[in-house]
């Protein structure tokens, strides 16, 4: 049941417990209780909205930064990761397999802002060996949603 509730909420956090209950054929109070519990258990962390900021006219710069780190005895990468994710400029941090260790998504108002954050804050953290910054030029698809407005209704309006 939890999985089905979560799958619906992941796509549309506006759905009310009653609507979810209807869609899954479950008692509404049970769904509401389950959601409350998952919030408490930090399974559900936040209800977010996916926004195409470009359309709002907000200039925003994001960069993906490959970070190489010297792992620490006993704690591995966790301690360095924790130092990095404390910064509000850092939107996400992933531990990666392959040629670098941490993938860090940084957001800022301008290219300069992001670049100086990397140079002054990120690169200077102890045990960070190197950084490679990739600026995001265009978002095509995020979290399964295509940003382009191409998906207008193309079907005939009334059909037998």
């Amino acid at each position: 049941m939890r999985k089905n509730i979560l799958k619906l909420l992941e796509n549309n956090s506006k759905l009310s417990p009653k609507e979810i209950a209807l869609m899954l054929g479950l008692p509404p109070d049970e769904v509401a209780r389950e959601i409350a519990e998952m919030e408490k258990e930090k399974i559900i962390l936040r209800y977010t909205t996916l926004i195409n900021w470009e359309k709002v006219g907000e200039e925003e710069v994001s960069a993906l930064i490959d970070v190489k780190v010297t792992p620490q005895r006993d704690v591995g990468f966790d301690e360095v990761a924790a130092r990095i994710y404390q910064y509000p400029e850092v939107k996400s941090v992933f531990l990666m397999s392959g040629s670098y260790d941490l993938s860090v998504l940084v957001q800022g108002k301008s290219l300069k802002e992001v670049a100086s954050f990397v140079a002054q804050k990120l690169a200077t953290i102890e045990h960070v060996q190197s950084t490679v910054t990739h600026f995001i030029l265009k978002k095509y698809k995020q979290d399964g949603v295509i940003f382009e407005d191409q998906i207008t209704e193309r079907r005939q309006v009334v059909q037998p």
Binding site: L22, M23, L24, V157, V158, Q159, P160
Partner: protein
């Protein structure tokens, strides 16, 4: 174009075609198409785009130069895949070289079946409300459509006694379209068995249009052909449109007794030659790797179905619970409006398009067909609008009744 007064095109049109009534939906279509900002629940096809791997298979086939005719019957690999699919999903065993023909959608299969078996004057039993093409095609073949009404009180199940009552020495064929468009009804087991007995008793054929077979919410799909003694008497028409969201590909198939199939192939080879190879390639990919797409889509439809039925009932509309396809068929009698009045006023006042139930046969009067093959967001907005509309008219209807 220069006009020659002596040329009268109408004189050349055959009386059968001239007298054919244009689809009731057509008129309504123009009305909807000319209104802006409409949310349409009148669409009879999936809102999903054909899964990417299926589209890609077609692109690759084109790149490799597959642009030629195929065998009249369709590509042997595709026929084998259809046979395997029918075996695995429905427990039906058909010989891929003798019993399966790939067609331009299930529509061609229906047309072929009727043209192959009907003599002028032959009677065809058609439970209604139903899809709009059975009656006109029967008429085009010189056949006589005999409608069998179904009712919400009986869950839109065709009543075997009502079928039997309408059988005459000229009755040749019974058309069954379940899961049903427009009601969403599926045949329950007892009804199926009873119908099979009638079919056997009167030595009839069955045309089973099972295009919605995969879209079932009450259990695994069932084919009428799988009933004891029914496979040889059943012409099974189906396709890829609804199950795999492949409407525009126009690709389907018909499975039947070898002799019936051979007869159908004769018409098909002269009129169609073969179904388009690119669509056949896509269909092959669908059968080989697309079954998981079906279960995903069915899950989505099912969630919307529950939501829509419950919302319509909360509004005070008497709504039969559909067990298949992607339509709901609520009664609108509490509003005091006819099907067409309801549809036209709902369009004008709230900009939601639904299809008046009487477009699917006389028993559809007093109902509307709403498709839930629409995104959840649109569906919820449409339901809010319908709710306002129904509340308004229900109040009016009550006031009139008390007035």
């Amino acid at each position: 174009m220069s006009q020659n007064r002596n040329f009268e095109p109408q004189r050349f049109i055959s009386p059968v075609v001239k007298n054919l009534r244009p689809s009731g939906i057509r008129r309504f279509f123009d009305l909807v198409a000319n209104t802006k900002g409409v949310i349409s629940l009148g669409v009879g096809e999936p809102d999903f785009v054909t899964p990417w791997h299926i589209r890609e298979a077609c692109v690759q086939a084109l790149e490799r130069g597959y642009t030629m005719y195929t065998s009249n019957l369709g590509m042997p690999e595709l026929r084998r895949a259809v046979a395997r699919y029918l075996e695995e999903r429905f427990g039906l065993s058909y010989h891929p070289d003798k019993q399966i023909l790939v067609t331009i959608g299930a529509s061609e299969a229906v047309d072929l079946a009727l043209r192959t078996v009907l003599n002028p004057g032959d009677e065809v039993l058609i439970p209604e409300p139903c899809y709009v093409s059975y009656k006109p095609i029967t008429l085009l073949c010189g056949g006589v459509p005999v409608e069998v009404p179904t009712t919400q009180a009986r869950n839109f199940q065709p009543n075997p006694q009502e079928i039997e009552k309408r059988i005459s020495p000229k009755t040749k064929l019974l058309i069954l379209c379940y899961p049903n468009n427009p009601t969403g009804a599926v045949l329950d087991e007892d009804t199926m068995m009873a119908i099979a007995r009638v079919v056997e008793k009167y030595n009839l054929l069955v045309l089973a249009d099972e295009i919605y077979a995969e879209l079932r919410y009450d259990g695994p799909p069932v084919s009428f052909a799988s009933l004891p003694g029914m496979q040889e008497r059943t012409i099974l028409a189906s396709g890829f449109s609804k199950a795999f969201a492949m409407t525009g590909w126009r690709i389907g198939y018909v499975a039947a007794h070898p002799e019936l199939l051979a007869a159908m192939v004769k018409i098909h080879q002269y009129t169609i030659l073969c179904a388009p190879i690119m669509s056949q390639m896509a269909a092959l990919e669908a059968l080989q790797h697309g079954l998981k797409d079906i279960s995903y889509m069915v899950e989505q439809y099912d969630q919307r179905r529950r939501l829509v039925v419950s919302r319509l009932r909360d509004m005070g509309l008497d709504c039969f619970e559909p067990k298949g396809a992607f339509y709901v068929f609520p009664s609108i009698s509490v509003t005091g409006l006819s099907s067409e009045e309801f549809a036209e006023r709902l369009l004008k006042e709230e900009k939601v398009a639904v299809v008046p139930g009487n477009a699917f046969g006389p028993s559809g009067e007093g109902f509307i067909r709403c498709s839930y093959a629409t995104s959840l967001q649109e569906l919820m907005e449409a339901l809010n609008r319908i709710e306002r509309f129904v509340a308004r008219y229900t109040r009016l209807a009550k006031a009139v009744a008390h007035g």
